[in-house]
């Protein structure tokens, strides 16, 4: 077990290193960021000074090593307006995190019952409906859904606020817009997991001993089928970080996605770089935790290869 954990953690660290490297060099492909912060007529000594204070005059590999050294200390550098990037991102994290949870809730409330029903009534009308909803979930662009939601429920019916984070009701529309895209995957995975479980001997056994159908499905079926669904739901958090750029932009939601887009517009590299690294870190950590939990639960995984 210790060996498996060490190996798996090592893999995650390598992935992080690769990402940090990719991001560092990608961001520096551009021209000189100092030019964007200062007007064209800025005196050359001023430009040189700013470049020096921001460390942009040092050789690229020195910048790179410094960057890695900072990363280890959870220091993402300073934003171009002087605030530490970590602070900027942590300021925006609660809005994104709570929205992601809300979106997950919305997606699960729609997808899990639908997945179960379509597995239980396989080949029926419900199954067709579930399949259609899954297809629709994959096909509707979230930004478009977002503005249609604003149009219908925000403007025409005026049920919910359409911009900003002002209270519980302000979560409704962005959570739907963000969660909708996840419905497709969740329905599929719930359905297939449920079908697999229902084909097992203990379900036949439970039925044979005369338990009511509902109890068979919920207590014996769902409880066993839910594990892959939870795994998938965990990974969705990564997808939501990504989707946050689009949805937060439409709803003027003060989260990481909007902060990233704003930072990109003024070429505030450290912030953009930090946001990409942070969301990759989330994704990798969740993946790692899921894999380790699996290994705890299922010894076969520990000993493979």
């Amino acid at each position: 077990m210790a060996r498996y954990v060490a190996g798996r953690v090592g893999q995650a660290l390598v992935s992080l290193l690769v990402i940090a490297t990719l991001v560092f060099f990608l961001v520096r492909l551009t021209g000189d960021p100092v030019r964007l912060l200062l007007p064209d007529f800025a005196p050359p000594e001023f430009i040189a000074h700013l470049r020096q204070t921001m460390g942009l005059d040092r050789p690229i590999w020195e910048q790179y090593l410094g960057f890695l050294g900072q990363l280890i200390r959870f220091d993402l550098g300073d934003s171009f307006n002087g605030q530490p990037v970590m602070d900027v991102l942590l300021d925006h994290l609660p809005a994104t995190a709570t929205l992601a949870v809300a979106a997950l809730l919305v997606a699960s409330l729609i997808a899990v019952p639908l997945g179960i029903l379509s597995a239980v009534y396989k080949g029926s009308f419900v199954d067709t409906v579930a399949r259609t909803i899954a297809l629709l979930g994959q096909s509707v662009p979230s930004f478009w859904l977002a503005i249609i939601l604003i149009l219908v429920f925000g403007v025409a019916l005026a049920w919910f606020p359409v911009a900003g984070r002002t209270g519980l009701s302000s979560y409704v529309l962005p959570a739907i817009a963000m969660g909708w895209a996840a419905v497709a995957g969740l329905v599929r995975i719930t359905r297939s997991s449920m079908l697999e479980v229902m084909d097992s001997d203990y379900i036949r056994m439970a039925r044979a001993k005369g338990l009511p159908t509902r109890i068979v499905y919920v207590k014996h079926g769902l409880r066993n089928a839910i594990i892959p669904v939870l795994t998938f739901a965990g990974l969705l958090v990564g997808a939501f970080m990504n989707g946050s750029v689009v949805v937060e932009n439409v709803f003027a939601w003060p989260g990481i996605g909007k902060a990233t887009l704003d930072a990109v517009k003024i070429r505030d590299f450290p912030v953009v770089q930090g946001a990409v690294i942070l969301s990759a870190l989330f994704y990798i950590s969740i993946n790692l935790v899921v894999d380790l939990l699996y290994a705890v639960v299922d010894p076969r995984i520990r000993y493979r290869r």
């Binding site: 992935s15 992080l16 690769v18 990402i19 662009p141 478009w144 149009l151 359905r191 990759a280």
Partner: protein, 296 residues
């Protein structure tokens, strides 16, 4: 298992009857929709009633024909600059299809190659490729695309370049999985015994057997690419304006949403219809080509 395979796959019946069944289960509607969009994109200069970028302020913000004030001169109305929405919609299909096609060819090609190598080769090379794949897959696509497009400039090419690695990573992972299974088959061992080179085994014996997987992933990924491209255009970092792209049209219409809905509604419907049809076709292809991975 057999019970929920599509009926076309069930054995039995004459060849003709099986053929008839296959035809019956072919998704005609999505194929027709994709056909219309592809033809529209190819023959856009002949089909579009107006120049998609021509500004005509005297006819700005005209509603579609079915609404009061609309006319058949502009079937789907005009936008704030008086550009014909229908014409922009027809041309917009070009951007979506070109991006999707190019990314599938570039990303899918690289991904297939890496997947074959990764699945076939020794542990060390495989591990290196897989770490790379993991790293790419854990990056947030849209955030990276935002950075990349701002850095290298907005163009069709930069959108294609930034999306390709993500698609390549997904192809690599899927193809590798298939190769790991296929290389255990006896015919691979026999080919080796017969003295075939690694390259020959990979491309002559393994590749044809992963072809169906590749076709299925390619179809399903096209839908995903179109959505991401539209998101980038919507955020203002896709293909530069005034080129008509569907995502850009939705963004343009956003401020007029409550009164002039048509500017955003129609391109949204176009994206949805296209992606829905492609996914539908993809699901169908998966059913007939790759029964193990169907909508189980």
């Amino acid at each position: 298992m057999i019970a929920h395979w599509p009926t076309a796959l069930r054995t039995g019946g004459t060849r003709a009857r099986r053929g008839a069944r296959l035809l019956r289960e072919t998704p005609m509607i999505p194929l027709a929709i994709i056909g219309v969009i592809v033809l529209g994109a190819i023959f856009a200069p002949f089909l579009a009633p107006y120049d998609p970028v021509k500004i005509d302020l005297t006819h700005a913000l005209k509603p579609p024909f079915f609404q009061e004030g609309g006319s058949t001169a502009h079937l789907l109305g005009t936008d704030k600059l008086g550009r014909d929405v229908l014409s922009r919609l027809i041309y917009g299909g070009r951007i979506s299809l070109v991006v999707a096609g190019a990314v599938i060819v570039v990303g899918g090609g690289i991904g297939t190659f890496l997947g074959l190598i990764s699945g076939y080769s020794a542990r060390r090379l495989d591990a290196v490729i897989q770490r790379g794949v993991e790293a790419v897959l854990s990056l947030p696509t849209i955030m990276v695309a935002l950075v990349f497009v701002y850095v290298v400039g907005q163009s069709l090419l930069s959108v294609i370049l930034v999306l390709s690695p993500f698609i390549a990573a997904r192809f690599t992972r899927m193809v590798r999985g298939d190769v790991l299974r296929i290389r255990e088959h006896n015919y691979v061992a026999l080919a080796r015994v017969a003295g075939a080179s690694d390259a020959r085994i990979i491309f002559r014996h393994i590749l044809p057997n992963v072809a169906s997987t590749i076709i299925v992933i390619a179809t399903l990924e096209i839908g995903a690419i179109i959505l991401v491209e539209a998101s980038l255009s919507f955020l203002g970092v896709g293909v530069p304006a005034p080129t008509p792209a569907w995502g850009l049209m939705i963004a343009d219409g956003r401020e007029y949403l409550s009164t002039k809905y048509w500017m955003s509604l129609f391109p949204g419907l176009a994206i949805m219809a296209t992606v829905l049809s492609i996914n539908w076709i993809g699901d169908w292809l998966r059913d007939i080509l790759d029964p193990k991975r169907q909508f189980v």
